[in-house]
């Protein structure tokens, strides 16, 4: 029997389409400021489900460009201030639709480069918050645009290495606790800059493998509950380290499938919780990495379908 059963792809597609159009929902209102990331999660999920063509491409592209500022950066929605994470989501959406050529990439590139500090780290925006997530966002964005040359890659890598902890994990800033989301960002940054040789990959792989719990799910830190989003962050990190077989994939698949809402569609953080677009994306992305035949293959570092990257 196919171990990816049940996976009602049509139902998930309907859920995602409904979520896009459900402008009266509380969730829709509260996520207005980061709509562009919501778009990325929704559109990539639909593409993994082979359903991107059901979206109104021109309207979405036009709206994405209306989120761009003079500086070249993108905000989370129209009238939102520009920041790195939203800029990445915008570029990823354009890549999904294969319309990157419509971007004035020089402006975006100079915006990203302007956020790098002298120690190699990146600010999220002009207000100065530093976090290893922003390093990954900058490096990924520039990798998609094939312009890593505009930043100090060596210094960016040094900053990432400074976030490495004794347990093999990475934190948000030097000394901060290892966390699966941060590990994904740091491993992604090292992968995209061909710098994985700088770390003890066995140690980090071990820390990641230890995230799997008895219920098959993955957690973000020792002694925490499993959450579907870590199915992506931990799994893609292991994939980048060529250690996907270090976790029990059957048990993880079972866990992700149990987090589905088989009535209304979508995937939640934990079994019997309410679905949302964020966890739907990460659940589907995790299943894709584990080889689900009904889904397109996703790239572990780019978090976009493989066919877009090649």
């Amino acid at each position: 029997m196919d171990r990816f059963t049940p996976l009602p792809v049509d139902l998930h597609q309907q859920y995602l389409c409904k979520a896009q159009n459900d402008t009266k929902s509380w969730e829709y209102f509260l996520t207005a400021h980061k709509r562009i990331s919501g778009a990325y999660w929704t559109l990539t999920s639909l593409d993994l489900l082979h359903a991107l063509e059901t979206t109104d491409e021109n309207a979405i592209i036009s709206w994405i460009f209306s989120c761009q500022h003079e500086s070249g950066g993108f905000g989370g929605n129209v009238d939102q201030d520009p920041n790195l994470l939203s800029t990445l989501s915008a570029v990823q959406c354009l890549a999904l639709y294969r319309r990157l050529d419509e971007l004035d990439s020089e402006k975006v590139i100079s915006y990203i480069a302007s956020l790098q500090l002298s120690d190699g780290s990146f600010m999220g925006d002009v207000w100065g918050e530093v976090d290893s997530r922003f390093t990954y966002a900058a490096i990924l964005c520039l990798s998609i645009l094939k312009r890593l040359d505009v930043i100090r890659v060596d210094k960016a890598v040094e900053f990432v290495i400074s976030c490495l902890n004794f347990d093999g994990g990475f934190g948000c800033i030097p000394g901060a606790e290892s966390h699966s989301g941060q590990v994904f960002c740091c491993i992604g940054a090292l992968y995209l800059t061909d710098s994985l040789y700088r770390i003890d990959q066995e140690l980090t792989g071990w820390w990641l493998a230890e995230r799997q719990l008895k219920n098959g799910g993955l957690n973000g830190r020792p002694d925490k509950k499993a959450d579907v989003c870590y199915s992506w962050w931990v799994l893609s990190s292991l994939a980048m380290l060529n250690k996907l077989d270090w976790i029990d994939s059957s048990k993880l698949i079972e866990f992700i499938l149990h987090c589905q809402d088989l009535e209304n569609g979508g995937i939640a953080d934990y079994p019997d919780d309410r679905s949302d677009v964020f966890h739907t994306f990460f659940g589907l992305a995790g299943l894709s990495l584990l080889g689900c035949p009904q889904l397109k293959r996703i790239h572990p570092a780019y978090a976009l379908p493989l066919e877009i990257i090649s």
Partner: protein
């Protein structure tokens, strides 16, 4: 647009009060009302009008006390709206009044306790900190937050930032307190290592301290060997100790 226009609407009293306060700038407010950003609940129309008023003041770059009032209403509607927090920082920098910074901290305290995993509020605290230079208040606040949720990543990271930025020493008892409550608390183990052995600490090369920490970790493991964090900690201090001993 006249006062009577919005007086006829079914708005909350405080929403009407804010609109009255901003009479001089709301002529074109209706173009800022974006139906696609409406909210589903009882005060839907209030959210729309507050959001529109905030956008008007933002566009005018009005860094005033009434802008603080309006943006506060917008933030209560959606504490994750980062542009709103950005705007408040602009206003505070522009007005440069110490009392406003302190007031802002009290607002942050309230919102942070209600939304303890909100990135924007924690970063806003950091901004306020650099003006107020109030490490003690921040240590007290992070402790309150951690007593609610002992593994709140933002609270631990913020406390670490405060300790680093203000060169606070003597945090050993703090991590110990949380480990007594839960000897598997990975955040507390990480914090313990950071506060005892990170670069700025005079104890960074202390072999004796590492020996006593190894004993401490071993003692905690006696309570249960199923303790991933304690094993990592023990392994790290023993390895550090070996390197230090070898270099002597």
């Amino acid at each position: 647009m006249s006062q009577s226009h919005f007086q006829d609407l079914d708005l909350r009293t405080d929403t009407k009060a804010l609109l009255e306060l901003c009479q001089d700038v709301i002529q074109d407010i209706e173009e800022y009302i974006k139906p696609e950003r409406s909210a589903p609940i009882k005060y839907e129309i209030d959210f729309l009008w507050i959001s529109a008023l905030f956008r008007i003041l933002l566009k005018r770059k009005e860094y005033s006390e009434r802008a603080l009032k309006v943006s506060l209403a917008a933030i209560y509607n959606n504490p994750a709206d980062y542009s709103c927090w950005d705007f408040r920082r602009q206003i505070l920098k522009s007005l440069q009044q110490c009392s406003l910074f302190q007031q802002e901290l009290e607002i942050c305290n309230e919102l942070c306790l209600q939304n303890p995993k909100n990135y924007q509020i924690w970063f806003h605290r950091r901004f306020l900190c650099t003006f107020l230079e109030n490490p003690l208040q921040e240590l007290q606040f992070t402790e309150i937050t951690l007593l609610e949720d002992a593994k709140n990543y933002h609270a631990w990271s913020h406390r670490q930032w405060v300790v680093d930025h203000f060169q606070v020493l003597d945090e050993e008892a703090f991590s110990k307190k949380f480990l007594e409550m839960d000897f598997r608390n990975n955040s507390a183990w990480n914090y313990r290592y950071f506060t005892l052995f990170s670069n700025m600490r005079t104890t960074v090369n202390s072999l004796e301290l590492r020996q006593s920490e190894a004993s401490y970790a071993w003692e905690m493991l006696q309570r249960s060997f199923m303790n991933e964090s304690a094993w990592y900690y023990l392994w790290k201090v023993v390895n550090d100790g070996k390197s230090i001993a070898a270099s002597v």
